[in-house]
């Protein structure tokens, strides 16, 4: 279901109950209004009836007064005539005064008008008969007077003499005063007020006054009067106009007062409040729906644009999303979240692109590397192959033959080193390289290497200078030589003939710092950051010549880091590049500093080894070297011996039967006094983790079995 439908339902759901309640109230109000109207109209009708009754009573009173004049009682009719005539003059409504015997014989007629009715018919007249027989006053219905050409009614009163009815006196009257009474009510033009006689004929009527008199009342009114003497009904006038009619019939006269209230006017007046209410409700509903529509437009449009944005984010397109999208907090929150997500997606996309291009770059580097590898391996092979040919065909001992042999040796060594470096880089990368660390003096290692290179002519026409301070480190001599050789090789390769290469070694804080600087062209800025990554080359892409494999510096970095050291490269202020290798000085050298103690025999050595053959062999070797040796077969006795004999060096097998060698080392370290004990670990496992564990436990050197005499001698001699 659409949002619009929900909002419309909400609006309707709120308004409809209110509307229903309002309608109920309206209907109730209408009913009350109608009731108030009805009561008001009935009261008016009743008041009018009282007035009509009073008017008629006036006629009756006047006639009764006339009936009681003495002359009439005495039968002095002549005199009575004069009295009657004067009475007639004072009553403008009265047309005539007549006198008859109770049996209907006319005796006196002031106007001398002939009664058109046949003789004796008077006795049958309803009102006359009533008065003649009961002796009570009566009022007749409306009747047409053909001589006066007027509608009139008669008031009759008995003339009683000595208890008997002697005459019936009658006054014929026109209903003018009653008409005036009705007209004095000032009804609205669409109201009609009527007075009916006992036979339901109009005595007076506000509508069509002249013509209506004497005419029968409307059928609906007659029907209502037949049922009840007073009430309220909805019916039609004689003209057919729909009216509400309150009516009241007088008990004394039998005459009726009724009012016709135009149903149209009445209903419209009554319903006006209802309509006002309905209009109000409709307006409210309209307003609510309009509101719902507007909110829908704002929210729905905002949601639609958010949906578009979400789609775009999914496709990885960038989206410009305003948080002003709609003045709705929740939507703004959504828009903000969506924008954040778009930013994140974009960032991710950028990272992916970057990673992709890095991968492509790595792929290109790999291709270059393979081409270079081929070149680097084939060239020495070509030289060797040619040299082998020369050896075969040249005279033995000739200059060519000797030269060819040297070439074969040199190129073979070169290739071996190349392949070795390659494998070493791979080993470092895979974490499979193990170091054979021992205390050694870096200066000594470098001096030895430089001497060899100089002797073999590898320095060529370069000016190589050494400035080395002694620096003792705990390192793998072969690997350190590899580091120095690679740096030196690079310096020579990238420095033109006649250029200068400086190698310096210094102690700075707790580090040995080796610097190899050259007077070459320096390192291009774009390469400085990536210099130590494998396969990155110092030469421009495309000119493959003599650049090497690009693994030398990667190897240097890997080896330095394996020794807990570091390597960095900068361009010197005066041109050329400076490579700096930092290695941690060994603790022993920190204590001894530059006071190089001459290394002779005569140390106290504690040997803890459970394997009898190994122990005996090592014992013999160490004693041969001039040391004083004590031995133990397990950790416990070893520790006891150490406490007793205070050795300079302890050589400990890690796999002892009781306490393991690591624990022995920890205990020895924790109980040693000011005199520092040198600890050498012996183990069959030479992995990097084993070494780290041994060093952590306090060993200075970690030796992997089998240990040669030479190596053991070097290690022991290396301690200060």
């Amino acid at each position: 279901m659409k949002l619009r439908s929900h909002l419309f339902l909400l609006a309707l759901g709120t308004i409809v109950p209110v509307a229903i309640f309002a309608v109920v109230v309206a209907v109730w109000l209408v009913e009350r209004e109608r009731e108030a109207w009805r009561i008001g109209a009935e009261n008016r009708a009743s008041a009018l009836l009282s007035a009509v009754d009073a008017e008629l009573r006036g006629h009756v009173t006047s006639l009764e007064a006339l009936a009681s004049v003495p002359s009439l009682q005495d039968g002095n009719l002549d005199y009575f005539r004069t009295v009657a005539e004067s009475t007639l003059k004072t009553h403008p409504d009265w047309l005539n005064i007549r006198l008859a015997t109770p049996d209907g014989k006319p005796i006196l007629n002031l106007r001398n008008l002939d009664d058109p009715r046949p003789h004796g018919s008077l006795a049958k007249d309803g009102s006359f008969a009533r008065t003649a027989t009961t002796g009570k006053t009566a009022i007749s219905n409306m009747a047409w007077d053909p001589q006066l050409m007027r509608w009139r009614f008669s008031v009759r009163a008995p003339v009683v003499h000595n208890g008997t009815i002697r005459y019936v006196l009658a006054a014929d009257a026109v209903p003018d005063s009653i008409t005036s009474l009705v007209q004095a009510q000032n009804f609205d033009p669409d109201w009609v007020g009527v007075v009916l006689d006992a036979s339901n004929r109009f005595v007076a009527r506000t509508w069509d006054s002249e013509k209506s008199i004497g005419q029968p009342a409307s059928e609906s009114l007659q029907a209502a009067l037949a049922k009840s003497s007073s009430g309220w009904f909805r019916g039609r006038t004689v003209e057919g106009v729909e009216v509400y009619t309150p009516f009241h019939r007088s008990a004394t006269t039998g005459w009726t007062v009724a009012m016709g209230v135009s149903a149209k006017t009445f209903d419209s007046a009554v319903w006006r409040s209802g309509w006002t209410l309905a209009l109000g409700i409709s307006f409210a509903i309209l307003l609510a729906l309009l509101g719902a529509h507007l909110i829908n437009r704002r929210i729905a449009n905002a949601i639609a644009s958010l949906a578009e944005a979400t789609k775009a984010i999914g496709k990885g397109e960038t989206v410009a999303l305003s948080t002003d999208i709609a003045p709705v907090d929740e939507i703004q929150t959504l828009a903000r979240a969506l924008r954040a997500s778009a930013d994140a997606a974009h960032e991710r996309q950028v990272l992916i692109e970057r990673e992709k291009s890095a991968l492509q770059e790595a792929d290109r580097a790999k291709d270059r590397f393979l081409a270079m590898l081929s070149h680097e391996l084939r060239n020495p092979l070509a030289a060797i192959s040619a040299a082998a040919h020369v050896v075969r065909f040249a005279k033995a001992g000739s200059a060519e033959a000797i030269s060819a042999q040297l070439v074969i040796e040199r190129q073979t060594r070169h290739m071996a080193r190349l392949i070795g470096d390659l494998l070493d880089v791979s080993r470092i990368t895979l974490g499979k390289m193990a170091l054979e660390r021992e205390p050694l003096d870096l200066a000594e290692t470098i001096t030895k290497l430089a001497r060899t290179w100089r002797a073999s002519g590898r320095f060529g026409r370069h000016d190589v200078n050494l400035d080395l301070a002694p620096a003792r480190v705990n390192a793998d001599a072969t690997r350190i030589e590899q580091v120095v050789a690679n740096l030196l090789d690079n310096a020579l390769k990238f420095t033109p003939h006649g250029g200068r290469v400086d190698i310096t070694l210094a102690r700075e804080g707790s580090e040995a710092v080796l610097r190899v600087s050259d007077s070459g062209p320096g390192i291009p800025q774009h390469l400085l950051d990536r210099l130590f990554e494998p396969f990155v080359q110092g030469n421009e892409p495309g000119t493959l010549a003599s650049a090497g494999l690009g693994i030398g510096l990667a190897l240097v970095k890997g080896l330095a880091e394996m020794h807990q050291g570091s390597v960095s490269a900068v361009n010197g202020p005066a041109g050329g590049s400076v490579f700096t290798v930092r290695l941690p000085l060994s603790e022993a050298s920190l204590v001894v500093t530059s006071a190089e103690r001459s290394v002779t025999g005569g140390r106290h050595i504690l040997l803890i080894e459970d394997d009898d053959d190994t122990r005996m062999m090592l014992h013999a070797a160490l004693e041969f070297g001039g040391h004083e040796v004590r031995q133990a077969r397990d950790g416990t006795s070893g520790l006891a011996l150490a406490a007793q004999s205070l050795p300079d060096v302890a050589v400990i097998d890690l796999g002892l039967p009781d306490i393991d060698g690591l624990e022995v080392a920890r205990r020895l370290r924790s109980t040693q006094g000011k005199r520092r004990l040198a600890l050498v670990a012996l183990t069959g496992f030479g992995g990097p983790d084993d070494q780290r564990r041994a060093l952590d436990a306090g060993f200075d050197v970690h030796l992997t079995k089998p240990v040669t005499h030479e190596r053991l001698k070097r290690v022991i001699g290396g301690f200060p």
Binding site: A371, S374, R378, N379, A383, S385, E400, L544, A545
Partner: protein
């Protein structure tokens, strides 16, 4: 008069060995370290056959081949290189495209080179 060969390679050991081997095979051999030096030497004492490496610093084998084709069109050329067909352009193929008489990949048997030299004379 023996056939004169000009040998161009940046690797001194290889240069020296190939030079000895060719002399043992009866050729008269001159050597140069790069393409430019080869062209200079050719002007000074022209050779019948040029044997050149492709990848050399400063002035590579393509430069030598181009220069020889232009200035010494009668000189036969043998290209030798250790480049592997890993990259999209195989350098020996490229040498073939610019017109050398023969191409060899390092390392090669001496007998093969001698056979090639005989065949192009």
């Amino acid at each position: 008069m023996s056939t004169r060969i000009l040998l161009v390679d940046d690797d001194a050991d290889f240069r020296a060995m190939l030079c000895s081997a060719l002399e043992l095979a009866g050729y008269s051999v001159e050597v140069a370290r790069n393409g430019r030096a080869a062209l200079a030497r050719q002007r000074h004492s022209p050779a019948d056959i040029l044997i050149t490496d492709i990848f050399m610093p400063e002035s590579d084998g393509f430069e030598a081949i181009d220069g020889f084709r232009r200035n010494f069109p009668s000189t036969k050329i043998v290209a030798i290189s250790g480049g592997a067909p890993v990259m999209k352009a195989n350098y020996l193929d490229a040498a073939g495209l610019i017109g050398v008489d023969a191409a060899l990949q390092k390392p090669f048997e001496m007998e093969e080179l001698l056979r090639v030299l005989k065949s192009i004379q």
